[in-house]
């Protein structure tokens, strides 16, 4: 093996610096009070307002109605992220299962139609989507927030590719062992797809967590606000002589970052374990 040179370390350190510096800066800044930040910009030292700032953003009810605090927003974001990821996984697994294992007319056409929707991101169809959700009376509900987004071409595509790589003999062995379509799916395919599910869960959770435009449209009640919206809410108080609570915005941003990081850390180890041990 080649010896590791000093220049290799420099490159790696530069990489670490570019990745970590903004986050570290945001974190350090979040420990100061708003006035300091307003006067002298981002802070490079650890301030004395750490506990106070975080307690404030988590517990102080804000907004017009004064009924939404950080914890509520955190809960809403979690519901959106989890519902989004789990819903997408269930729907796309079932769709891929149908496409790969069942013979029905126009199956491959169906697949390609689903695949083509990859070309149409949410933003393109946001008005008709809103129209439908609104027509169904699902505005300002969790299901209105989640359900319209859970159809996933990406997920369907990944699961389809994965199912195609599962040897046919497994299906045949299961058939001889008396497993019907449902049992085969639950007992064999789902456990085999664990690594795939973990990977898609990571991607989709983060994607759902970071949704901004859709929640902004669908939720007008503040009790349904998500963290990502909350950050903006804090910055929007430029009234009179008030200065925005930069410290709180930073603290909320750091809080908003934590759950996705936790999810990635947990599922990554699972994901890598599955990759290393993989044999079908």
């Amino acid at each position: 093996m080649k010896r590791i040179k000093f220049s290799d370390h420099v490159i790696l350190l530069a990489g670490v610096f570019f990745m970590v510096a903004p986050v570290a800066l945001a974190f350090l800044t979040s420990t100061h009070d708003a006035v300091t930040i307003y006067k002298s910009g981002m802070q490079f030292t650890f301030g004395d307002q750490f506990l106070q700032n975080y307690e404030t953003v988590l517990t102080r009810a804000g907004g017009f109605t004064k009924e939404v605090d950080g914890l509520v927003m955190l809960k809403n974001s979690l519901i959106l992220g989890l519902g989004f990821a789990i819903g997408k996984i269930i729907i796309s697994m079932l769709a891929a299962y149908a496409i790969v294992y069942f013979r029905f007319p126009f199956a491959s056409l169906c697949f390609w139609v689903i695949f083509c929707t990859l070309l149409l991101p949410l933003e393109v169809r946001i008005l008709p989507s809103y129209e439908i959700v609104q027509g169904l009376g699902m505005v300002n509900t969790y299901s209105g927030l989640i359900v319209p987004l859970i159809a996933s071409a990406t997920g369907t595509f990944f699961f389809r590719q994965f199912f195609l790589s599962v040897p046919d003999e497994l299906l045949e062995a299961a058939r001889i062992d008396g497993a019907g379509p449902w049992k085969f799916f639950i007992d064999i395919l789902v456990p085999l797809s664990k690594t795939m599910i973990a990977a898609i869960f990571i991607i989709m959770f983060v994607y759902g967590w970071n949704q901004y435009l859709w929640p902004t449209l669908i939720t007008t009640e503040e009790s349904l606000f998500t963290l990502v919206r909350g950050i903006k809410q804090i910055m929007q108080v430029w009234i009179g002589a008030q200065i925005p609570d930069f410290n709180e915005a930073m603290a909320l941003a750091i809080l908003a970052m934590l759950p996705p990081v936790v999810i990635v850390v947990i599922f990554q180890s699972w994901f890598i374990k599955g990759l290393v041990e993989s044999d079908k």
Partner: protein, 359 residues
């Protein structure tokens, strides 16, 4: 335990490809049948039709007295062993064996008894908690067999179960499968392209070619009296020597070569003459053997020692196919050396020059 009856079974795939062309076989209770043939001969398709994994285009498959054409694989009372084992990778060995029984709603105690019993027979008891990936190829093969045994089915179906194993293990598992089948007495259908496996395992061989049965019979019977040039060249290693000859008056003439000292007994224009490598004997050059069925003069090309015996590859002076002769491992023939060879009349096989059928 059951008989299996195939009655003019045909399989036509989309695009009018006829993979199996009207095959009829009666398999006795407890018999070990081996379907053998080159790839694409329809042997696996036939097995999969018995298993219920392929639809039967026309014809009838009976297991016991029951016609199973439209019966689900799970309800046919068969168990199958696949080439790549098809073990469930995420389940322990125990659960791999138990899965089929659980799906049938069998009581836990009975499942446990059967799994333990199968594990004992196959000596995989200590691996019951492991996942398949932690097992070697031979152990996986045993687990696959175990999954078949625990079901206590009417018939075992084997689809080239040994072809993923290395040579040594293959011989070992072959013996084991035979022993197991004899002790359980379960009717078995075994598919392979390996003629040695077929010869050693089978009670009866079914040689298939292009979707048709070429010959059914006990292995030694198939070896001794191949029904066609196809069977003659497929069964036996090295393959039987086949010489295309035409009638020349009362004698025979090698096509594109010299006359042969053999009789034109059957009154046809063209024959294929077959002689197994072990039936050719080297005699003193120039000696006369009026009783011999066939006498050949050949020139040695290569001597190939394989240990217990050696094979001489030799050809005719005027061209024609290369012949293989089995000789003692002490023989030391040099390339270019001239040999005179004879074969006894009963060891010379005559096949029709046109359709290749035995005369």
């Amino acid at each position: 335990m059951a008989t299996i009856t195939l009655d003019s079974v045909r399989k036509v795939y989309a695009g009018n490809v006829e993979a199996v062309k009207g095959v009829s076989i009666d398999i006795q209770d407890g018999e070990f049948i081996v379907l053998v043939g080159p790839s694409g001969c329809g042997k696996s398709t036939l097995l999969r039709m018995v298993a219920g994994l392929e639809d039967i285009t026309t014809g009838e498959v009976k297991i016991g007295e029951r016609v199973v054409n439209n019966v689900d694989p799970a309800d046919r009372d068969i168990a199958m062993v696949f080439q790549n084992y098809a073990l469930y990778p995420h389940m322990s060995v125990y659960n791999n064996l138990a899965y089929g029984l659980k799906n049938r709603g069998m009581a836990k105690g009975e499942i446990d008894r059967r799994v333990k019993e199968a594990a004992r027979i196959l000596e995989i008891g200590e691996y019951l908690d492991r996942k398949p990936r932690a097992l070697s190829g031979g152990q996986r093969q045993r687990v696959a067999m175990g999954r078949a045994i625990v079901r206590e089915p009417a018939a075992f179906l084997f689809d080239e179960p040994l072809s993923n194993l290395d040579a040594k293990l293959r011989v070992q598992m072959r013996v084991e499968i035979k022993r197991l089948q004899k002790s359980l007495g379960t009717t078995s259908v075994y598919v392979t392209h390996d003629q040695l496996e077929a010869m050693t395992l089978a009670d009866r061989l079914v040689v298939l070619n292009k979707g048709n049965i070429e010959q059914i019979g006990a292995p030694i019977e198939v070896y001794d009296r191949p029904a066609s040039t196809f069977v003659a060249s497929f069964i036996g290693s090295p393959a039987m020597n086949l010489l295309p000859v035409s009638a020349n008056g009362s004698g025979l003439q090698l096509e594109g070569g010299e006359g042969l000292s053999g009789p034109n007994t059957y009154g046809r224009d063209k024959y294929t003459v077959g002689i197994r490598p072990e039936h050719l004997r080297v005699v003193d050059a120039g000696s006369s053997h009026p009783d011999a069925g066939l006498s050949l003069d050949l020139v040695v090309n290569v001597l190939e020692p394989v240990g217990a015996e050696s094979f001489v590859y030799a050809s005719f002076a005027k061209g024609g196919p290369e012949m293989v002769i089995r000789v003692s491992n002490h023989a030391r023939y040099q390339p270019g050396e001239k040999l005179q060879l004879i074969a006894d009349a009963q060891d010379v096989h005559f096949f029709d020059g046109g359709n290749g059928k035995r005369i």
